[in-house]
Symmetry: C2
Subunit: 297 residues, 2 copies
Amino acid sequence: MFKIPPHQVAGHHASNGTLGPLVDDSGRFYKPLQGDERGSAEVTFYKQFSTNTEIPDRIRRFFPVFYGTQVMKASDGFEHPHIMLQDLASSRSNPTIMDIKIGSRTFGPEASDDYIEKCLKRDRETTTLRLGFRISGLQVYVSEELGFYKPSRDLVLKSSIDDVKLLFRRFVSSNSSGSDPDYALASKVYGGPNGILAQLLELKTWFEDQTIYHFCACSLLFMFEKTMASKGETSNAQVKLIDFAHVTEGRGVIDHNFLGGLCSLIKFISEVLKDPEDHKTPGGDTLESTILVNNGH
Amino acid sequence: MFKIPPHQVAGHHASNGTLGPLVDDSGRFYKPLQGDERGSAEVTFYKQFSTNTEIPDRIRRFFPVFYGTQVMKASDGFEHPHIMLQDLASSRSNPTIMDIKIGSRTFGPEASDDYIEKCLKRDRETTTLRLGFRISGLQVYVSEELGFYKPSRDLVLKSSIDDVKLLFRRFVSSNSSGSDPDYALASKVYGGPNGILAQLLELKTWFEDQTIYHFCACSLLFMFEKTMASKGETSNAQVKLIDFAHVTEGRGVIDHNFLGGLCSLIKFISEVLKDPEDHKTPGGDTLESTILVNNGH
Protein backbone atom coordinates (compact mmCIF):
# COMPACT_ATOMS: atom_id res chain seq x y z
CA MET A 1 0.00 0.00 0.00
CA PHE A 2 2.82 2.43 0.89
CA LYS A 3 5.68 3.13 -1.44
CA ILE A 4 8.66 5.42 -1.73
CA PRO A 5 7.65 8.58 -3.63
CA PRO A 6 8.76 8.00 -7.23
CA HIS A 7 9.17 11.71 -8.02
CA GLN A 8 11.03 13.18 -5.08
CA VAL A 9 13.97 15.29 -6.30
CA ALA A 10 15.40 16.61 -3.01
CA GLY A 11 15.26 16.08 0.75
CA HIS A 12 15.47 12.95 2.86
CA HIS A 13 14.96 9.55 1.28
CA ALA A 14 14.13 6.23 2.87
CA SER A 15 17.09 3.88 2.62
CA ASN A 16 18.87 1.34 4.81
CA GLY A 17 18.08 2.46 8.31
CA THR A 18 17.15 5.99 7.27
CA LEU A 19 13.64 7.29 7.53
CA GLY A 20 12.09 8.75 4.42
CA PRO A 21 8.69 9.81 3.17
CA LEU A 22 6.07 7.42 1.80
CA VAL A 23 3.05 7.82 -0.43
CA ASP A 24 -0.13 5.76 -0.71
CA ASP A 25 -2.64 5.18 -3.52
CA SER A 26 -5.15 7.69 -2.17
CA GLY A 27 -2.91 10.70 -2.89
CA ARG A 28 -1.35 11.18 0.51
CA PHE A 29 2.28 11.90 1.32
CA TYR A 30 3.63 10.72 4.71
CA LYS A 31 6.63 12.67 5.92
CA PRO A 32 8.41 11.32 9.01
CA LEU A 33 8.87 14.02 11.65
CA GLN A 34 12.49 15.00 11.95
CA GLY A 35 13.67 13.82 15.35
CA ASP A 36 14.73 17.14 16.81
CA GLU A 37 12.72 20.34 17.19
CA ARG A 38 12.42 20.63 13.40
CA GLY A 39 9.75 17.93 13.27
CA SER A 40 7.53 19.56 15.84
CA ALA A 41 8.16 22.97 14.29
CA GLU A 42 6.85 21.72 10.94
CA VAL A 43 3.74 20.18 12.54
CA THR A 44 3.12 23.41 14.45
CA PHE A 45 3.36 25.37 11.22
CA TYR A 46 0.94 23.12 9.32
CA LYS A 47 -1.58 23.15 12.19
CA GLN A 48 -1.40 26.91 12.55
CA PHE A 49 -1.43 27.60 8.81
CA SER A 50 -4.29 25.24 7.96
CA THR A 51 -6.60 27.06 10.39
CA ASN A 52 -5.31 30.58 9.82
CA THR A 53 -8.15 32.64 8.34
CA GLU A 54 -5.76 35.44 7.33
CA ILE A 55 -4.39 33.34 4.45
CA PRO A 56 -6.23 34.19 1.22
CA ASP A 57 -7.30 31.27 -0.99
CA ARG A 58 -5.17 32.53 -3.88
CA ILE A 59 -2.16 31.93 -1.57
CA ARG A 60 -3.36 28.80 0.20
CA ARG A 61 -3.38 26.93 -3.12
CA PHE A 62 0.44 27.16 -3.16
CA PHE A 63 0.65 24.97 -0.03
CA PRO A 64 0.14 21.19 0.27
CA VAL A 65 -3.10 20.22 2.02
CA PHE A 66 -2.45 19.09 5.61
CA TYR A 67 -4.31 16.01 6.90
CA GLY A 68 -2.86 15.78 10.41
CA THR A 69 -0.26 13.48 11.91
CA GLN A 70 -0.19 9.71 12.20
CA VAL A 71 2.08 7.16 13.86
CA MET A 72 3.26 4.65 11.28
CA LYS A 73 5.67 1.78 11.02
CA ALA A 74 8.54 3.22 8.96
CA SER A 75 11.24 1.69 6.80
CA ASP A 76 13.43 1.01 9.85
CA GLY A 77 10.75 -1.24 11.35
CA PHE A 78 9.94 1.12 14.24
CA GLU A 79 6.89 3.28 14.75
CA HIS A 80 7.35 6.98 14.04
CA PRO A 81 5.07 10.00 13.88
CA HIS A 82 4.45 11.24 10.32
CA ILE A 83 2.91 14.38 8.88
CA MET A 84 0.12 13.51 6.45
CA LEU A 85 0.08 15.77 3.44
CA GLN A 86 -1.32 15.98 -0.06
CA ASP A 87 0.93 14.04 -2.45
CA LEU A 88 1.63 16.83 -4.92
CA ALA A 89 2.76 14.45 -7.68
CA SER A 90 -0.01 11.85 -7.28
CA SER A 91 -2.10 13.07 -10.21
CA ARG A 92 0.87 13.21 -12.54
CA SER A 93 2.37 10.45 -14.64
CA ASN A 94 5.75 11.80 -15.77
CA PRO A 95 6.22 15.08 -13.92
CA THR A 96 9.10 17.38 -14.70
CA ILE A 97 10.07 18.83 -11.31
CA MET A 98 12.48 21.35 -9.83
CA ASP A 99 13.08 22.02 -6.13
CA ILE A 100 14.50 25.49 -5.37
CA LYS A 101 15.49 26.53 -1.87
CA ILE A 102 14.68 30.22 -1.51
CA GLY A 103 16.60 32.89 0.40
CA SER A 104 20.06 34.36 0.49
CA ARG A 105 20.55 32.63 3.85
CA THR A 106 19.05 29.42 5.23
CA PHE A 107 19.29 30.23 8.95
CA GLY A 108 17.09 32.45 11.07
CA PRO A 109 18.16 35.22 13.44
CA GLU A 110 17.64 33.01 16.51
CA ALA A 111 19.77 30.08 15.29
CA SER A 112 22.78 28.92 17.30
CA ASP A 113 26.33 29.89 16.36
CA ASP A 114 27.11 26.32 15.25
CA TYR A 115 24.01 26.08 13.08
CA ILE A 116 24.69 29.48 11.50
CA GLU A 117 28.27 28.47 10.73
CA LYS A 118 27.12 25.23 9.09
CA CYS A 119 24.41 26.95 7.03
CA LEU A 120 26.58 29.90 6.03
CA LYS A 121 29.27 27.53 4.74
CA ARG A 122 26.71 25.75 2.56
CA ASP A 123 25.12 29.05 1.50
CA ARG A 124 28.51 30.34 0.34
CA GLU A 125 29.45 27.09 -1.44
CA THR A 126 26.18 26.99 -3.38
CA THR A 127 24.48 29.84 -5.23
CA THR A 128 22.35 30.75 -2.17
CA LEU A 129 24.35 33.77 -1.04
CA ARG A 130 24.98 35.14 -4.53
CA LEU A 131 21.64 34.36 -6.20
CA GLY A 132 19.24 34.39 -3.28
CA PHE A 133 18.29 30.79 -4.05
CA ARG A 134 19.77 27.43 -4.99
CA ILE A 135 18.44 24.52 -6.97
CA SER A 136 18.23 21.53 -4.61
CA GLY A 137 17.21 18.97 -7.19
CA LEU A 138 15.37 18.38 -10.43
CA GLN A 139 14.11 15.76 -12.82
CA VAL A 140 13.18 16.44 -16.43
CA TYR A 141 11.13 13.90 -18.33
CA VAL A 142 12.85 12.97 -21.55
CA SER A 143 10.91 10.10 -23.11
CA GLU A 144 9.26 6.76 -22.42
CA GLU A 145 12.47 4.99 -23.43
CA LEU A 146 15.03 7.24 -21.75
CA GLY A 147 13.14 8.17 -18.61
CA PHE A 148 14.26 11.27 -16.73
CA TYR A 149 17.24 13.60 -16.81
CA LYS A 150 18.05 13.67 -13.09
CA PRO A 151 21.48 14.98 -12.09
CA SER A 152 22.78 13.86 -8.70
CA ARG A 153 22.26 16.00 -5.60
CA ASP A 154 25.98 16.76 -5.35
CA LEU A 155 26.21 17.83 -8.97
CA VAL A 156 23.15 20.09 -8.64
CA LEU A 157 24.47 21.72 -5.47
CA LYS A 158 27.77 22.44 -7.22
CA SER A 159 25.95 24.48 -9.88
CA SER A 160 27.45 27.83 -10.78
CA ILE A 161 25.22 30.79 -11.66
CA ASP A 162 25.66 29.91 -15.33
CA ASP A 163 24.70 26.29 -14.60
CA VAL A 164 21.51 27.54 -12.93
CA LYS A 165 20.68 29.58 -16.02
CA LEU A 166 21.22 26.52 -18.16
CA LEU A 167 19.10 24.31 -15.87
CA PHE A 168 16.17 26.74 -16.11
CA ARG A 169 16.42 26.38 -19.88
CA ARG A 170 16.95 22.63 -19.87
CA PHE A 171 13.90 22.36 -17.61
CA VAL A 172 11.63 23.60 -20.41
CA SER A 173 13.35 21.95 -23.36
CA SER A 174 12.02 19.03 -25.34
CA ASN A 175 15.60 17.73 -25.66
CA SER A 176 16.71 18.26 -22.05
CA SER A 177 19.31 15.56 -22.06
CA GLY A 178 21.57 17.19 -24.61
CA SER A 179 24.01 20.03 -24.09
CA ASP A 180 22.13 22.26 -26.53
CA PRO A 181 18.60 22.63 -25.10
CA ASP A 182 15.88 23.93 -27.46
CA TYR A 183 13.71 25.81 -24.85
CA ALA A 184 10.66 24.65 -26.81
CA LEU A 185 8.29 24.80 -23.83
CA ALA A 186 9.49 28.05 -22.20
CA SER A 187 6.51 30.19 -23.16
CA LYS A 188 4.02 27.45 -22.25
CA VAL A 189 5.52 26.55 -18.87
CA TYR A 190 7.01 29.83 -17.62
CA GLY A 191 4.75 32.21 -19.57
CA GLY A 192 1.01 32.76 -19.93
CA PRO A 193 -1.68 33.71 -17.41
CA ASN A 194 -1.36 30.41 -15.52
CA GLY A 195 2.33 29.85 -16.06
CA ILE A 196 5.06 29.66 -13.45
CA LEU A 197 6.04 33.34 -13.75
CA ALA A 198 2.44 34.49 -13.15
CA GLN A 199 2.24 32.26 -10.08
CA LEU A 200 5.54 33.60 -8.73
CA LEU A 201 4.32 37.18 -9.18
CA GLU A 202 1.16 36.31 -7.24
CA LEU A 203 3.33 34.96 -4.42
CA LYS A 204 5.52 38.06 -4.57
CA THR A 205 2.54 40.36 -3.99
CA TRP A 206 1.72 38.42 -0.85
CA PHE A 207 5.30 38.38 0.41
CA GLU A 208 5.57 42.15 0.02
CA ASP A 209 2.83 42.51 2.58
CA GLN A 210 2.55 39.46 4.84
CA THR A 211 4.27 39.62 8.23
CA ILE A 212 2.82 36.41 9.68
CA TYR A 213 5.55 33.91 8.78
CA HIS A 214 9.23 33.88 7.86
CA PHE A 215 9.80 30.92 5.55
CA CYS A 216 13.41 30.17 6.35
CA ALA A 217 15.00 27.35 4.28
CA CYS A 218 11.73 26.62 2.46
CA SER A 219 11.60 25.43 -1.12
CA LEU A 220 9.54 26.28 -4.15
CA LEU A 221 8.56 23.29 -6.24
CA PHE A 222 7.98 23.75 -9.98
CA MET A 223 6.04 20.96 -11.65
CA PHE A 224 4.60 20.35 -15.07
CA GLU A 225 3.72 17.53 -17.42
CA LYS A 226 5.84 17.70 -20.53
CA THR A 227 3.47 15.78 -22.76
CA MET A 228 0.63 18.14 -21.85
CA ALA A 229 2.79 21.22 -22.41
CA SER A 230 3.84 19.85 -25.79
CA LYS A 231 0.18 19.58 -26.77
CA GLY A 232 -0.21 23.29 -26.09
CA GLU A 233 -2.02 23.09 -22.77
CA THR A 234 -0.69 25.71 -20.40
CA SER A 235 -2.54 25.17 -17.16
CA ASN A 236 -0.58 22.19 -15.92
CA ALA A 237 2.40 24.17 -14.57
CA GLN A 238 2.27 24.33 -10.78
CA VAL A 239 4.23 26.17 -8.14
CA LYS A 240 4.14 24.88 -4.56
CA LEU A 241 5.83 25.81 -1.31
CA ILE A 242 7.25 22.95 0.78
CA ASP A 243 9.50 22.23 3.80
CA PHE A 244 8.47 24.27 6.81
CA ALA A 245 10.77 22.95 9.54
CA HIS A 246 12.38 26.39 9.93
CA VAL A 247 9.37 28.66 9.66
CA THR A 248 9.25 31.33 12.38
CA GLU A 249 6.81 34.07 13.31
CA GLY A 250 7.10 37.27 11.30
CA ARG A 251 6.27 39.57 14.24
CA GLY A 252 5.37 42.55 12.10
CA VAL A 253 8.32 42.22 9.70
CA ILE A 254 8.06 40.94 6.12
CA ASP A 255 10.14 37.93 5.10
CA HIS A 256 12.72 40.04 3.25
CA ASN A 257 15.06 37.07 2.91
CA PHE A 258 12.47 34.98 1.02
CA LEU A 259 11.16 37.98 -0.91
CA GLY A 260 14.62 39.01 -2.12
CA GLY A 261 15.34 35.48 -3.34
CA LEU A 262 11.92 35.23 -4.96
CA CYS A 263 12.53 38.47 -6.86
CA SER A 264 15.91 37.16 -8.02
CA LEU A 265 14.22 33.96 -9.23
CA ILE A 266 11.52 35.99 -11.00
CA LYS A 267 14.22 37.96 -12.78
CA PHE A 268 15.94 34.74 -13.95
CA ILE A 269 12.68 33.22 -15.23
CA SER A 270 11.79 36.50 -16.95
CA GLU A 271 15.14 36.47 -18.72
CA VAL A 272 14.53 32.96 -20.04
CA LEU A 273 11.17 34.09 -21.40
CA LYS A 274 12.62 37.25 -22.91
CA ASP A 275 15.64 35.66 -24.51
CA PRO A 276 15.75 31.88 -24.22
CA GLU A 277 18.95 31.63 -26.28
CA ASP A 278 21.03 33.79 -23.97
CA HIS A 279 22.76 31.27 -21.78
CA LYS A 280 26.13 31.13 -23.43
CA THR A 281 28.56 32.63 -21.01
CA PRO A 282 32.29 32.20 -20.58
CA GLY A 283 33.35 29.55 -18.11
CA GLY A 284 32.83 25.85 -17.74
CA ASP A 285 29.49 24.11 -17.63
CA THR A 286 29.82 21.56 -14.88
CA LEU A 287 26.47 20.08 -15.85
CA GLU A 288 27.52 19.31 -19.40
CA SER A 289 27.58 15.61 -18.69
CA THR A 290 24.10 14.21 -18.92
CA ILE A 291 22.67 11.90 -16.33
CA LEU A 292 19.63 9.93 -17.29
CA VAL A 293 17.71 8.03 -14.70
CA ASN A 294 14.99 5.71 -15.81
CA ASN A 295 13.17 5.35 -12.54
CA GLY A 296 10.63 2.81 -13.57
CA HIS A 297 8.20 4.83 -15.66
CA MET B 1 36.82 77.75 3.91
CA PHE B 2 36.45 74.05 4.84
CA LYS B 3 34.45 72.92 7.81
CA ILE B 4 33.21 69.73 9.39
CA PRO B 5 29.77 68.84 7.96
CA PRO B 6 27.26 70.14 10.51
CA HIS B 7 24.57 67.58 9.60
CA GLN B 8 26.35 64.25 9.37
CA VAL B 9 24.47 61.62 11.38
CA ALA B 10 26.57 58.48 10.70
CA GLY B 11 29.94 57.37 9.35
CA HIS B 12 33.45 58.61 10.04
CA HIS B 13 34.00 61.99 11.66
CA ALA B 14 37.08 64.15 11.74
CA SER B 15 38.49 64.29 15.24
CA ASN B 16 41.89 64.16 16.93
CA GLY B 17 44.06 62.29 14.50
CA THR B 18 41.11 60.78 12.60
CA LEU B 19 40.26 61.73 9.06
CA GLY B 20 36.73 62.84 8.39
CA PRO B 21 34.75 64.53 5.65
CA LEU B 22 34.71 68.27 5.06
CA VAL B 23 32.35 70.63 3.26
CA ASP B 24 32.95 74.02 1.65
CA ASP B 25 30.70 77.01 0.94
CA SER B 26 30.16 76.07 -2.71
CA GLY B 27 28.10 72.95 -1.86
CA ARG B 28 30.79 70.31 -2.12
CA PHE B 29 31.40 67.42 0.23
CA TYR B 30 34.99 66.10 0.53
CA LYS B 31 35.19 62.52 1.70
CA PRO B 32 38.68 61.17 2.52
CA LEU B 33 39.38 57.89 0.75
CA GLN B 34 39.45 55.03 3.18
CA GLY B 35 43.03 53.79 3.33
CA ASP B 36 42.45 50.21 2.20
CA GLU B 37 40.75 48.90 -0.92
CA ARG B 38 37.45 50.43 0.19
CA GLY B 39 38.58 53.90 -0.80
CA SER B 40 39.57 52.94 -4.31
CA ALA B 41 36.42 50.82 -4.64
CA GLU B 42 34.25 53.83 -3.88
CA VAL B 43 36.13 56.02 -6.41
CA THR B 44 35.82 53.26 -9.01
CA PHE B 45 32.08 53.08 -8.38
CA TYR B 46 31.53 56.84 -8.69
CA LYS B 47 33.60 57.04 -11.88
CA GLN B 48 31.79 54.11 -13.45
CA PHE B 49 28.35 55.20 -12.30
CA SER B 50 28.69 58.84 -13.33
CA THR B 51 29.42 57.84 -16.94
CA ASN B 52 27.09 54.83 -17.12
CA THR B 53 24.44 55.58 -19.74
CA GLU B 54 22.28 52.68 -18.57
CA ILE B 55 21.24 54.59 -15.44
CA PRO B 56 17.91 56.38 -16.06
CA ASP B 57 17.64 60.00 -14.85
CA ARG B 58 14.79 59.09 -12.50
CA ILE B 59 17.32 56.86 -10.68
CA ARG B 60 20.42 59.03 -11.04
CA ARG B 61 18.73 61.74 -8.97
CA PHE B 62 18.98 59.47 -5.92
CA PHE B 63 22.79 59.60 -6.03
CA PRO B 64 25.11 62.45 -5.00
CA VAL B 65 26.76 64.22 -7.93
CA PHE B 66 30.41 63.16 -8.32
CA TYR B 67 33.01 65.89 -9.07
CA GLY B 68 36.17 63.76 -9.13
CA THR B 69 38.96 63.31 -6.62
CA GLN B 70 41.31 65.83 -5.08
CA VAL B 71 44.34 65.68 -2.80
CA MET B 72 43.75 67.90 0.22
CA LYS B 73 45.38 68.70 3.53
CA ALA B 74 43.18 66.93 6.04
CA SER B 75 42.51 67.37 9.73
CA ASP B 76 45.61 65.37 10.62
CA GLY B 77 47.85 67.87 8.81
CA PHE B 78 48.83 65.42 6.04
CA GLU B 79 47.75 65.38 2.42
CA HIS B 80 45.13 62.78 1.52
CA PRO B 81 43.08 61.97 -1.55
CA HIS B 82 39.39 62.91 -1.20
CA ILE B 83 36.30 62.14 -3.22
CA MET B 84 34.50 65.36 -4.20
CA LEU B 85 30.74 65.01 -4.01
CA GLN B 86 27.63 67.13 -3.88
CA ASP B 87 26.98 68.24 -0.29
CA LEU B 88 23.46 66.90 0.08
CA ALA B 89 22.65 69.10 3.08
CA SER B 90 24.15 72.35 1.75
CA SER B 91 20.86 73.90 0.68
CA ARG B 92 19.17 73.09 3.96
CA SER B 93 19.15 75.09 7.16
CA ASN B 94 17.83 72.68 9.79
CA PRO B 95 17.54 69.32 8.08
CA THR B 96 15.90 66.38 9.78
CA ILE B 97 17.97 63.38 8.65
CA MET B 98 18.00 59.62 8.99
CA ASP B 99 20.74 57.24 7.76
CA ILE B 100 19.55 53.66 7.17
CA LYS B 101 21.95 50.90 6.19
CA ILE B 102 20.08 48.57 3.83
CA GLY B 103 20.33 44.80 3.55
CA SER B 104 19.96 41.77 5.74
CA ARG B 105 23.74 41.31 5.55
CA THR B 106 26.51 43.87 5.12
CA PHE B 107 29.12 41.59 3.53
CA GLY B 108 29.39 40.38 -0.03
CA PRO B 109 29.89 36.80 -1.24
CA GLU B 110 33.60 37.38 -1.92
CA ALA B 111 34.46 38.76 1.52
CA SER B 112 37.08 37.07 3.70
CA ASP B 113 36.12 34.78 6.57
CA ASP B 114 37.30 37.35 9.13
CA TYR B 115 35.35 40.16 7.53
CA ILE B 116 32.20 38.02 7.29
CA GLU B 117 32.50 37.05 10.94
CA LYS B 118 32.86 40.69 11.98
CA CYS B 119 29.93 41.86 9.85
CA LEU B 120 27.65 38.96 10.79
CA LYS B 121 28.22 39.67 14.49
CA ARG B 122 27.18 43.28 13.98
CA ASP B 123 24.29 42.27 11.71
CA ARG B 124 22.94 39.94 14.41
CA GLU B 125 23.42 42.47 17.23
CA THR B 126 21.55 45.18 15.34
CA THR B 127 18.24 44.89 13.47
CA THR B 128 20.02 44.17 10.15
CA LEU B 129 19.46 40.41 10.09
CA ARG B 130 15.89 40.53 11.38
CA LEU B 131 14.62 43.67 9.64
CA GLY B 132 16.75 43.78 6.51
CA PHE B 133 18.03 47.22 7.53
CA ARG B 134 19.32 49.16 10.52
CA ILE B 135 19.19 52.81 11.44
CA SER B 136 22.78 54.06 11.59
CA GLY B 137 22.00 57.55 12.82
CA LEU B 138 19.48 60.36 12.84
CA GLN B 139 18.85 63.93 13.83
CA VAL B 140 15.44 65.47 14.18
CA TYR B 141 15.09 69.23 14.31
CA VAL B 142 13.15 70.29 17.39
CA SER B 143 13.28 74.06 17.60
CA GLU B 144 15.56 77.08 17.40
CA GLU B 145 16.06 76.95 21.15
CA LEU B 146 16.43 73.22 21.65
CA GLY B 147 18.28 72.29 18.47
CA PHE B 148 18.20 68.66 17.38
CA TYR B 149 17.15 65.37 18.87
CA LYS B 150 20.23 63.30 18.05
CA PRO B 151 20.67 60.03 19.93
CA SER B 152 24.20 58.67 20.15
CA ARG B 153 25.48 56.16 17.61
CA ASP B 154 25.66 53.41 20.23
CA LEU B 155 22.10 54.03 21.37
CA VAL B 156 20.79 54.01 17.80
CA LEU B 157 22.62 50.77 16.96
CA LYS B 158 21.10 49.14 20.05
CA SER B 159 17.60 49.83 18.74
CA SER B 160 15.13 46.97 18.92
CA ILE B 161 12.51 46.50 16.21
CA ASP B 162 10.03 48.41 18.36
CA ASP B 163 12.57 51.21 18.80
CA VAL B 164 12.93 51.42 15.01
CA LYS B 165 9.16 51.73 14.66
CA LEU B 166 9.17 54.50 17.24
CA LEU B 167 12.07 56.31 15.54
CA PHE B 168 10.22 56.32 12.20
CA ARG B 169 7.35 58.01 14.04
CA ARG B 170 9.50 60.39 16.02
CA PHE B 171 11.21 61.35 12.77
CA VAL B 172 7.98 62.92 11.48
CA SER B 173 6.66 64.36 14.72
CA SER B 174 6.54 68.02 15.64
CA ASN B 175 7.38 67.07 19.24
CA SER B 176 10.14 64.55 18.51
CA SER B 177 11.93 65.03 21.78
CA GLY B 178 9.14 63.65 23.96
CA SER B 179 8.22 60.04 24.56
CA ASP B 180 4.78 60.56 23.02
CA PRO B 181 5.39 61.67 19.42
CA ASP B 182 2.45 63.24 17.56
CA TYR B 183 3.31 62.04 13.97
CA ALA B 184 2.04 65.41 12.73
CA LEU B 185 4.15 65.38 9.56
CA ALA B 186 3.80 61.70 8.54
CA SER B 187 1.49 62.25 5.58
CA LYS B 188 3.52 65.23 4.34
CA VAL B 189 6.95 63.62 4.63
CA TYR B 190 6.29 59.92 3.98
CA GLY B 191 3.13 60.30 1.88
CA GLY B 192 2.15 62.17 -1.25
CA PRO B 193 3.38 61.94 -4.85
CA ASN B 194 6.84 63.32 -3.93
CA GLY B 195 7.09 61.86 -0.46
CA ILE B 196 9.61 59.38 0.84
CA LEU B 197 7.40 56.35 0.21
CA ALA B 198 6.87 57.29 -3.46
CA GLN B 199 10.63 57.70 -3.88
CA LEU B 200 11.32 54.33 -2.26
CA LEU B 201 8.80 52.66 -4.60
CA GLU B 202 10.56 54.24 -7.57
CA LEU B 203 13.86 52.81 -6.34
CA LYS B 204 12.21 49.43 -5.77
CA THR B 205 11.10 49.23 -9.40
CA TRP B 206 14.68 49.75 -10.49
CA PHE B 207 16.10 47.24 -8.03
CA GLU B 208 13.68 44.56 -9.23
CA ASP B 209 15.30 44.77 -12.63
CA GLN B 210 18.85 46.16 -12.47
CA THR B 211 21.71 43.67 -12.45
CA ILE B 212 24.56 46.16 -12.85
CA TYR B 213 25.51 46.77 -9.21
CA HIS B 214 25.15 45.13 -5.83
CA PHE B 215 24.96 47.86 -3.21
CA CYS B 216 26.42 46.04 -0.25
CA ALA B 217 26.46 48.01 3.03
CA CYS B 218 25.05 51.14 1.37
CA SER B 219 22.77 53.56 3.17
CA LEU B 220 19.60 55.38 2.30
CA LEU B 221 19.47 58.94 3.57
CA PHE B 222 16.08 60.49 4.36
CA MET B 223 16.08 64.28 4.58
CA PHE B 224 13.47 66.96 4.99
CA GLU B 225 13.03 70.44 6.38
CA LYS B 226 10.59 70.45 9.24
CA THR B 227 9.62 74.08 8.99
CA MET B 228 8.74 73.62 5.32
CA ALA B 229 6.77 70.44 6.02
CA SER B 230 4.88 72.23 8.79
CA LYS B 231 3.86 74.91 6.29
CA GLY B 232 2.27 72.21 4.17
CA GLU B 233 4.89 71.97 1.45
CA THR B 234 5.49 68.34 0.52
CA SER B 235 8.27 68.38 -2.03
CA ASN B 236 11.19 68.89 0.31
CA ALA B 237 11.51 65.26 1.40
CA GLN B 238 14.51 63.65 -0.26
CA VAL B 239 15.84 60.11 -0.46
CA LYS B 240 19.50 59.59 -1.38
CA LEU B 241 21.81 56.62 -1.65
CA ILE B 242 25.27 56.98 -0.09
CA ASP B 243 28.38 54.97 0.86
CA PHE B 244 29.61 52.83 -2.01
CA ALA B 245 32.84 51.34 -0.64
CA HIS B 246 31.38 47.81 -0.91
CA VAL B 247 29.55 48.00 -4.23
CA THR B 248 30.27 45.03 -6.50
CA GLU B 249 29.27 44.05 -10.01
CA GLY B 250 25.85 42.45 -10.33
CA ARG B 251 26.87 40.06 -13.13
CA GLY B 252 23.34 39.33 -14.27
CA VAL B 253 21.87 38.92 -10.78
CA ILE B 254 19.63 41.48 -9.07
CA ASP B 255 20.69 42.88 -5.70
CA HIS B 256 18.25 40.68 -3.74
CA ASN B 257 19.89 41.63 -0.45
CA PHE B 258 19.26 45.36 -0.97
CA LEU B 259 15.84 44.78 -2.54
CA GLY B 260 14.63 42.59 0.33
CA GLY B 261 15.69 45.21 2.88
CA LEU B 262 14.15 48.00 0.81
CA CYS B 263 10.81 46.14 0.70
CA SER B 264 10.96 45.66 4.47
CA LEU B 265 11.60 49.39 4.91
CA ILE B 266 8.74 50.21 2.52
CA LYS B 267 6.44 48.03 4.61
CA PHE B 268 7.45 49.84 7.81
CA ILE B 269 6.94 53.29 6.29
CA SER B 270 3.58 52.18 4.84
CA GLU B 271 2.48 51.06 8.30
CA VAL B 272 3.33 54.46 9.78
CA LEU B 273 1.24 56.12 7.08
CA LYS B 274 -1.64 53.69 7.51
CA ASP B 275 -1.75 53.77 11.28
CA PRO B 276 0.62 56.27 12.85
CA GLU B 277 -0.61 55.52 16.38
CA ASP B 278 0.28 51.84 16.27
CA HIS B 279 3.67 51.74 17.89
CA LYS B 280 2.69 50.65 21.36
CA THR B 281 4.13 47.20 21.79
CA PRO B 282 5.11 45.28 24.88
CA GLY B 283 8.73 45.52 25.88
CA GLY B 284 11.04 48.29 26.87
CA ASP B 285 11.81 51.34 24.79
CA THR B 286 15.54 51.82 25.09
CA LEU B 287 15.23 55.17 23.32
CA GLU B 288 12.87 56.60 25.92
CA SER B 289 15.51 58.94 27.22
CA THR B 290 15.74 61.96 25.02
CA ILE B 291 19.04 63.31 23.84
CA LEU B 292 19.05 66.82 22.53
CA VAL B 293 22.07 68.19 20.77
CA ASN B 294 22.18 71.85 19.96
CA ASN B 295 24.89 71.80 17.37
CA GLY B 296 25.17 75.50 16.75
CA HIS B 297 22.08 76.21 14.68
